[in-house]
Structures are given as C-alpha cells and as structure tokens.
Subunit: 234 residues, 2 copies
DNA sequence: TAGATTGTTAATCGATTAACAATC
DNA sequence: TAGATTGTTAATCGATTAACAATC
C-alpha cells in the first residue's frame, strides 16, 4: 500500500514518539556526545536537562518514549543513552544527502562538520552556474566537485539518496524540488523562502533566516513596550 | 536558568499573541507581500491559508489575535493586512543588526536580500581572522567593511543595536555572546551549535543545521519502517 | 537499609479544529 | 435580499508540569 493511504493516526499517535519530543532529541544527543567525550559515565535527568535547557520533568518524559533506559537512584549511562537516542533518530545508519545550490549558504552547509559526524554523507553538490560547476569544495576533509544540476539524475541512480537540501535562490527552489522528488528524494531541507509543493509522503522542513529574525524582532519589541510600561507605572 | 529558546515567562500571558501564532506571522506576511506585488487587492482566509500552508480556521484564529481586520463576506485587504502584521511583528521600524563571524554562513546572511527588505539594517560585520578583517562585503547593495571584533564596543555605542547574529565556530560562540550582551544586545540569533548562557531578559533563538537534518532523518526512517510494515502486511 | 533518582500519573495548560452565528 | 466570508465558540487534542510511588 502506498504511504498516501496510511491513515494519519498511524503517524502521530499510536505508540509513536510525539513531535515535540523528536524535535528535542537532537539537543539531548548533542549534550550527551559532549559528555561522553569528556569521559562522564552517567548523568542524572537533572544534569542533562540543565545542559539541554529544559526541565528535568520534560526530559524524563521525553526519554520515557524511547524506553526505560535509566537506573533509579543512579541516572542514565551516557554512552548507552547516546546510542538509544541515535537509534531513535535514525543516526545509526548512514544517510546520503545531496545539496543543490552551492553559493555561500550551500558552501557553509557542505563544510559543516556536524553533518559527517552524525552520519550524513554529502554525495553530491549541484549548481547551474558555470562559475561554480567544476569547483572543488572540501566536505568532511575530502574534496567534492560541484556538478551541473543536469547530472543529478545519474547520481541519484547510483546512490540511495533520500534526503535533499535546497540552498538555491527563491526562483529556482520549486523546480529543483520537483527534480529531487522525481528522482526519489522523500525528505527535503529547504532554505529558500518558498512554501514548496510536494506530493503526499514527502517531508519538507523549511529554515528561513528572515523569519527567525522577525520572530526575534517581535519579542524585542515586546520587551521595549514592557520596559516603557514599567517605567511609566513606577 | 537559560531555557533553550525564548523564556516562557515573558510570553503568552496577559492578553499577548500566542507563541504558535507569532511563529506563523512571518509566513503570512511573506505571502501577503507577494500578493501585494502582484496587485491583488483582497484575499480570503481560504486563499491566504492555502498559500501559507495552514488551515483557514487556524489562519482566522491567528489573525483574530491582531484585531478584526477582515470584512465579512469579502475577505482581507492585502495592503492593510501586510501593514497590521508588520506592525505586530515590529517591522514598521528599522532594526540595527550586527553579524559576528563572516565565514561562508556569515556571508550568506549578510547578503540575504530578505533582511533589508524587512527593515533589518546590517550596521556591522565582525570577525577576528586577519584574512577577513578589512574585506568588503556587499550588504543590500552597499559595501560594508568587515571590522575586527575588538571594535564592536565602539560601533555599539554609536548605533542602537539590540539584535546580534552569531555565525562563529562553536568554540567562540559563548564569549561572543557575552560581548554582545555586555554592549546592549538583548536578542540573539545563534547559528552555533551551543546552548548559550544569557542573563534574564535576553532572548536567544538557535538555528542548528544538523538538528534540522536529524529531525528529517527521523521522519525518513519512520516512513521506511511504515513501508516495510505495509509490505509485509499486504 | 537510607538516600537518590527514575518512570508514570493526573492535572493543567496551550494549540488546533470544526462549526456557525454575525454581518458585510 | 442572497451569497459569501469573517470572527468566535466550544470541543478536542497534544504538550507541559508537579508530584510521587517504584526501585535501584
């Protein structure tokens, strides 16, 4: 049965891990990896929560969705919990990723050390600008040559790529998205400020730099208003 | 205690606009600006919701927190609603922004056209690398010279900067944060994969590229598992 | 055992949704 | 008026929180 026929109740509910929890797991994972690197053997929910910026109650609730991996009176084994979170997130196997658009942002993404260390292999860098095609970008210590977008279909055939990153200008994003989806990509990380149209079953996460700044501006404005109000009140 | 993102105590309460709504306002704003540019005079909640990727019920609920700016039987005046959302978000006045760290990511941010068009003025670019200091980066059509981080205090004195962007490597992020806060910054957009410690009253939003990919990987894994399950069932 | 800390419960809070009365 | 669409209501859903029994 195609995924489009899977009832929604299967996805969010029914023993699955809640969305809000999934969104916090990478933060816990990062904190735990840092602790493991410092040789810390066990951690309490209070400590891990503190270094993740959440309450300990929330942390324990989140971890309880993965299983019972702690020891009462002791805490959590750091290495073991790293593994369990990695497994839940799907980080225990490698993911092949292609990046389309190799401007400043695409370059920054390709060179980001956090990708390789979490099992994301950048197997292709694509652009349409003749100035960029043929250039070599260092990804995880190895040079990767920027290819023309026209060669994407071939690359997709030989490697099981299911994740694509769009770092193109706004105008190109939708057609790049269509190309990716047509060649088997089912998860897209989109940095272009566009709402992409995708078929059922394809997930898109959009990261918009201007949106983030605007939300900050809102809170900044609110603080200024509160300050004024407080000043006039007393 | 540094809650990971914007502290809750500041928000939500006291007749304010709910968090979830604030987070969607930039999307509505963008869609409306595009409509205004195409000369569309009015829009229904159904249409605006469609082009924002939300349900019309949610859209109307969201807009109702700003006020009653629609006309029953007609819809919303596009220009007017653009203005009202901009006002709610604090986009009706200019915000001065400094960016610290002018690597690929900092460059991408500085050159991002969406900033200037929404009233964000990049008044300073800072770095500590002698290779970058003195370089000129084109921001909103005008060249801006990268300055050494040591000169940040002076720049902060002359211009009312309350928003800072951290695009440095992980190791430098906390000390840069301290410097920004010491000189009056009260809102920080953080691209370094660290949980910043900030005093009460300072808001931080963290954007982590690896986190986004990991969340995608989770959903990708879930889809693969569902596909397997469906295959073995039928 | 005594102290510590988990995993779970139940209450609360906030967000979403469908439906529809209000009204242009 | 008749048709269209908003703004609001009330029900539901999901997330958060504090408290504590279970148990190492």
């Amino acid at each position: 049965m195609p995924l489009s026929q899977v009832p929604k109740s299967h996805i969010g509910a029914r023993g699955g891990i809640p969305d809000a929890t999934v969104n916090r797991l990478p933060t816990y994972h990062r904190a735990l990896v840092a602790m493991a690197a410092r040789g810390i053997p066990t951690v309490s929910s209070e400590e891990l929560a503190e270094s993740s910026g959440v309450s300990s109650a929330k942390l324990r609730k989140d971890l309880s969705f993965l299983g019972s991996y702690g020891t009462r009176g002791v805490g959590y084994d750091v290495e073991f919990l790293v593994y369990q979170i990695a497994r839940a997130l799907g980080l225990t196997h490698e993911w092949s990723v292609v990046i389309v658009g190799v401007g400043n942002l695409g370059n920054a993404l390709a060179g980001y050390p956090g990708f390789a260390s979490r099992g994301f292999n950048v197997v292709g860098l694509f652009d349409t600008s003749s100035a960029r095609v043929g250039e070599s970008v260092v990804v995880a210590g190895c040079p990767v040559v920027v290819q023309h977008l026209d060669t994407l279909p071939e690359v997709m055939k030989s490697s099981g790529v299911s994740i694509g990153v769009i770092a193109t200008p706004e105008a190109a994003a939708q057609s790049v998205c269509n190309l990716l989806v047509a060649h088997g990509v089912t998860s897209i990380l989109n940095f272009a400020p566009v709402l992409l149209e995708v078929p059922e079953g394809v997930d898109v996460r959009r990261v918009d730099l201007a949106t983030e700044l605007q939300i900050l501006a809102f809170h900044e404005q609110r603080k200024a208003q509160n300050a004024l109000r407080a000043a006039s009140a007393g």
